[in-house]
């Protein structure tokens, strides 16, 4: 197991590559989801205000 994480001495290059990919892919997924929810909430609020 430890051998796997050492990546034959290249751990400092292999794991940052994978970690950065995971981070960037996660951000591109997470941010628009949050934006979408926020946008819907704003629309609902505005819509309510308009009706009153």
């Amino acid at each position: 197991m430890a051998e796997f994480f050492q990546m034959g001495g290249y751990a400092a290059f292999v794991w940052p590559s994978y970690g950065l990919c995971a981070l960037v892919l996660w951000l591109n997924w997470y941010v628009p989801r949050k934006q979408h929810d926020k946008e819907l909430r704003q629309l609902k609020r505005r819509h309510k205000a308009e009706r009153q």
Partner: protein, 241 residues
Amino acid sequence: MFLWFHKLGSPPHFYRIAGKWIPWLTWIFLILVAAGLYGGLILAPPDYQQGESYRIIFVHVPSAWMSMFIYVTMAFCAVVIIVWRMKLAEVVLISSAPIGASFTFLALVTGSLWGKPMWGTYWVWDARLTSELILLFLYLGVIGLHNAIEDKRVAARAVAILALVGVVNIPIIHYSVEWWHSLHQGASLTKFDKPSMPPSMYIPILIMALAFQFYYALTLFHKCRVELLQRERNSKWVKEL
């Protein structure tokens, strides 16, 4: 067929369909990534020259392919925008740009992390690396230009022209390793004769590439839904949500 296409192009319909597809695309992406990582990090043998460092390939090559694929998709949207002024193409083009920029960034960074132990340097100004960096600037240019113009429809037309002009860079990236002397290795998979690596190495690359395609589709749908809500704020279908 034309009717189906026409219907898909209508914002409320696309908004709904995208919402329905997202969970499926996400699951397929996760399964493919799990398979690709297992194949790449565990099953594939170490390279006889590069040892374990070559395992960066399983994220580097698919990212680089996606960086070009997404740009070509944007150029295709640009043609649709210029010729037919289709709204959905505008939404797809501008929503694709940050995803494409992300993959270009990843291709550059993972490449430099691979370059350091193998070439002895993080960066060289050679044709492949430089043309990929230009691709990143093209993506950033598209995003910047779009943000600089208030009217979204005018912005989309301006961005379409930029995206279309920039597409000349794509064949330059692909052939850069043949046209110029480069530190970067030549194509190992996208050539007509046999791939220059064993199946245990190239199958995980192909699985990861497929996974990234699904990832592009699902994040594109997420981003398009946000863009559609913002653009169509005052239309009837948004008020009915």
